[in-house]
């Protein structure tokens, strides 16, 4: 895995915490302790009630396809061999949306509303990225 040359998330702060759950093949989102609103991407404060109190809560891992693009021609050199690839926005059961690639669905078979479930791909020793599979 040492030759993995694609962009990796900055592994610090709340982003590190999010991806550390992924490494355990577990998906967590922040939930406000003041008003129970889920949020993603991770933020310091609840935008609804401005509470600083929150906890990581396990996601059911299921959702539906909201939108996507099919990258037919990569404009980043590291993804050239992966085209066509489709980063998919999934609306999770908790209400937040998560962007990730499908592992088992060719882009031509994607449909808005399609049920999907979370999957994982360990791309380096340190980083596991969330992915999706058909539910």
């Amino acid at each position: 895995m040492s030759e993995y040359n694609k962009p990796l998330p900055g592994m610090d702060g709340l982003t590190r915490e999010f991806y550390d759950f992924c490494k355990q093949e577990d998906l967590h989102f922040q939930r406000c302790s003041g008003c129970n609103t889920f949020r993603h991407v991770p933020r310091e404060v609840c935008a609804k009630c401005n509470s600083f109190d929150w906890e990581w809560v396990r996601s059911s891992g299921v959702g539906t396809v909201y939108t996507w693009t099919v990258v037919e021609r990569a404009l980043h050199p590291a993804f050239v061999d992966d085209t066509p690839m489709a980063p998919v926005v999934v609306e999770m059961e908790e209400g937040v949306r998560l962007l990730a690639n499908m592992l088992d669905c060719p882009p031509a078979e994607l449909e808005i509303g399609m049920p999907v479930k979370i999957a994982y791909e360990a791309v380096t020793e340190e980083v596991t990225l969330p992915r999706f599979r058909r539910a």
């Binding site: 993804f79 066509p84 791309v123």
Partner: protein
Amino acid sequence: MLKDKTCIVGIGETGYCRKPGSGMTEERLQLKASVAALQDAGLSGAEIDGILAFPNVGKSEAFAANLGCENLRFAATIHMGGAAPLASLRMAAIAVATGAANHVLIPGGWNGYSGARVRQTVTTDKNSIPGGAIAWDYYLPQGLTVPPQWYALMARRHMYEYGTTHEQFGAVAVAMRKHAQLNPGALMCGKTLTMEQYMASPMLADPYRINDCCLETDGAAAFIVTSVERARDLGKTPIYIMGAAAGQPYPADEITNRADFHQTGLTIAAPEAFRMAGIEPADADFAQIYDCFTFEVIQQIEEAGFCARGEGGPFVENGNIELGGNLPINTHGGLLSEAHSLGLGHIVEAVKQLRGDGGERQVKDAEIGVVTGWGDFGDGSIAILRR
């Protein structure tokens, strides 16, 4: 209120190119455009006391030192990408109307073709745009790396909800290309585009084809804002700023989790600008809509209120946005077929049209024009101008 308190008095451009590149630094390009704007206005550099530099490509200090702006007292950079020039116009109008500055220069330019491309800067510098750090952590690792891919997410959702079609995207591309044939300075002047050619254009980031995308360009442009009184003393037809506003989608730094997925900064900004101007969108004789990609024209037509949300696709059909149509859009060819001038070209073209200097592409009896800007993850800005 800002209505009719300030004017655009000077415009300048360098001309635009791709291969082999401008052969100039981005600073020199922008200085050339700035000097052209000063000459157009009949102003000296020493009279400029406000500068609003475009993010990442220039610093007000350097402009002032080169142009001899000895009394610089108002300087800022608005970090809204392609929405920055019109957000700067609004800020300049506020400054001039309140006495914080008398003559404000707004330059912008880049070697967007021969220098660092956007595709590189957004993936190598997480601070190149305000949402860059989030893109770095949550988009790039999934292969969503560049603007056409970000915005394709919005375009597909719009197609799903409202039935917007590839042919409607194509109508935008074809209209811009037709206009470029009347603009000798347009990079695509002499290169026509039919709907058949558009539909055969290779897919880049589905639903976006190559021909849905703007032209990476080298070049610069600039304009100057001053008071109505001062503008009347200078030689050129004063172009009045009737209304101006800027806004951001929510959240501005992250695309995927917007409750209203079709919202842009313009959704907030446009009603304010039209209210200020005291006109309806239908009163505009033309519009210069920031066309980084074809669908963004459709989206902004809707969010600016030229039609209801979901009706932008039909709006661009049947020549409606071409010269001779109900609302000619991007009479210079826009970012798609003139050049990617960071949105400054749209402002320059609006001024030319309102002065009656549109040449072959002049909109007959043009009195009121609308200009929009779009940047980063959908920041928006708008100005309503009249002669």
